[in-house]
Each structure stands twice: as C-alpha cells, then as structure tokens.
Amino acid sequence: MSVYTRGCPRPIGVPCVNDFLLPILMYGACAAGAVGTALALPRRKPALALIGGLVVASGIGLMALMLFLAAGDVALLPNLFFYVFAGLALGSGLRMITHPTPVYSALYFILTIIASAGLYVLLGAEFMAFALIIIYAGAILITYLFVIMLATQAPVEGEEEAVPDYDAVAREPIWAAAVGFVLLATLTTVMFRGADSLPGPEINNDRGTALASMPLRIQRALRESGAIETSATVETVDGVAAFDAVTGEVLTSEGPKPLPEGLEASNVETLGFNLLRDHPMTIEIAGVILLMAMLGATVLARRQVDLDEDAKAKQARHLAVGSEANDA
C-alpha cells in the first residue's frame, strides 16, 4: 500500500523516493511545527521564542517541499504565489498566537487574513477575497482591536512594558502543541491516503449555463461583437436565455448564434446567482443571526448604572409621563 504513487515514474513495487521520502518530510514538517510552536509560545525567557520561530519556518519550508514533491511536476515558478501566500499565512498565524501583547497578535491576524484573501483569489473566488478583507479584516478585527484597547490596563508608570502574567506564559505549551500537531499529522495522512492521483483544478467548461441566466448581457455582448443586429433580441424562456448546451449556441431573433469568444460569467455574478437562487432562505437566516448578535451585544455591553432608590422612582415617573404625553 503506498500513499503517494502519483508522479513516481518507476514501475510499481520499486520503492520510489517519493514513497518513503514524502512521509518523512510530512511528519518531519509536523514535528518541526510542533516543536517550534511549543518554543515560540509566550514564556518567561523570550530567547527561546525566536528559535521556535525559526524552527517553525523550517517546518513550513519542509511542508512546502513535500507539497511540491507530491505535485511531482517541475514547473515551479507559476505556482509560486500559492507558496508565498501559504508561507505568509502560516508565519503570521504562528506569530499571532506566540506574541505576548494582544495588539500585535491582532495585527498579525490581519496579515493572515490578507494572505488568505490572496489564496481566495488564486482559487477564483474574487468576491470572497474582497468580502474577506472588507468585512473580516476591516470590521471584525477592528472591533477586536477596539476591545483590546478598552480592556488592556493603561500601563502603570512603574513598568513601562508590563505584560500581565496571563499573557506572558502559555498554558502547557508542549502538551497542547503536541496534541495539535498530532492532529495535523493525522489529518494530512488521511488526506494523502489513497489519493493516488491528486486531481488538479478542472477547467470551467459549462460557462454557457451560467451565462444563460443573464440574457441581457449575452444580448449586449452579441450586439457589440456584431453577431446580431442592434435591434435583435435573445429569446428568453421565463427569464433564462434559450441556450443549447450541446451546440453551445444561444437562440436569438436572428437564429442560433454561438457565444462570443471570451464572454465569461465572472465569479461575482455566478456567486450572486448561486446565493439568491439556491440559498434564499439562508440569506434570511444570516440576516436574523446578525440582528440577534447586534441586539445581544448591545444588551450585554450596556453599562450597568446602579441608581439609588429615589433616582429609580424619578426615572419611572418620567417614563410614565412620557408615555402619557405621546398617548394623548
């Protein structure tokens, strides 16, 4: 049973370097990651944290090398972006959990968010990338920073950079790191197990159907390309263009015309259609969740002003007067 036969030209049975090299690389990467994180986590003696960081970096390198070998092809450069973004994400992620001061952690987290946005773009989810940066980095993490500012004590004059002890020392770093990376090792093994041929990205070839749901756009594109008269229209059947998937032509008032070259349904459009056509209900629910969260947050965080007795009585009267006023 071999885990990764892909890309091993030699006949089956002859151990290919990939067969035993890859597992060692992978587990080595995980082990390095574990040791590095354990060391890097906030501890009394900061020196070790640096060494930890380096070890983790080497771990990420090993992982990259392993992934590269698993891919088995020579072409290195074009996929460089993936490795850059991955390295960035992991490094800043590690730095986030190992940095003693919470503000820096938050900022590092923003860096991770940006890296993963990059990855989203690589995966063809541009809308999500931007959504991520706007909503996530922009809104949520700013709230985090806001709360961090609110919650961290103003530094007492005495020690300038006093780090409260609950930030300074991690809880059982070794045991947590070990557990975490055993988890990672098992996850990766499971992923690679039996995946003889790791499928590459598929080419998106059913662009026609996606476009069909936008008849006006096709019509405008056809008119620009001159395939049909400016007054001709695209036949639509209750809002969907009459598109023949087999011939790849759309029926217009002047007969079936092939789609213009290079006409693509961009990610945002298809995503929009998918969102509203396939998951209308979930949108509503998402809306409700947000509403509830907002309500909850305001209620929770309201400052409990403890009024004394007569103040409460006055308040109650005031409210009563107020309600009569607008009743009348």
Partner: protein, 115 residues
Amino acid sequence: MLEVLAQGAFAEPMASITLAHYLVLSGAMFVLGLVGFVTRRNLIIMFLCTEMMFQASGLALVAFARYSMNLDGQTFVIFVLTVAAAEAAMGLALVVLLFRKQESLSAEVWNQLKG
C-alpha cells in the same frame, strides 16, 4: 489577468497546486488556531484563535468549491463570515462584561463551575 491566475493558465496537465495543498494549509491554520486557543490565557486572544479556526475552515471550503466546480462552497463561506462576525460581536461584548467584573482578562479567573 485574474482569470489566467485563477485557472492556472499553463497547459494541461500542469496540475501543480492540488486540493491537498489547500487542505494541508487550512489544516495547519486550524491547528495553529487550536493550539493558540488552548495555550493562551488571554480571553481576547482565545477569541482571536477561534476566528483563526473560522478562517481555516473558510479556506478549506473555498478550496473545495474551486476543485469541485461548485459555488456552494463560496456561499457557505459567506455564512461562515456572518457567523464569525456575530460570534465576535457577542464574544467581545461578553469579554468586556467579564473584564469589567473581574478587572482581568485571564480565563482562569472564571473557574467557579468546577466539580
């Protein structure tokens, strides 16, 4: 230009970046978040680590969406985002409340519920 990037315009079968790459990456990010959650005592950092885990799962979802040519993954990431946002809001409100109560952000202060 974006499409080129997205599709990996190079000729077949340059299947360089496979689904496993992304999954390993998201796994690593998830584990980082987990380790962070378990080890750091600061409440806010713990929340941050949960956000990291959300992020990791979002990445995996998008990777799956891309490699199985189905946009549901992406829509789902949107919901992951909404949930993350809601959770962050609530969580931070709670942290503020807790902080105001105990004047400390350490998680170990709150252990009255012990057995």
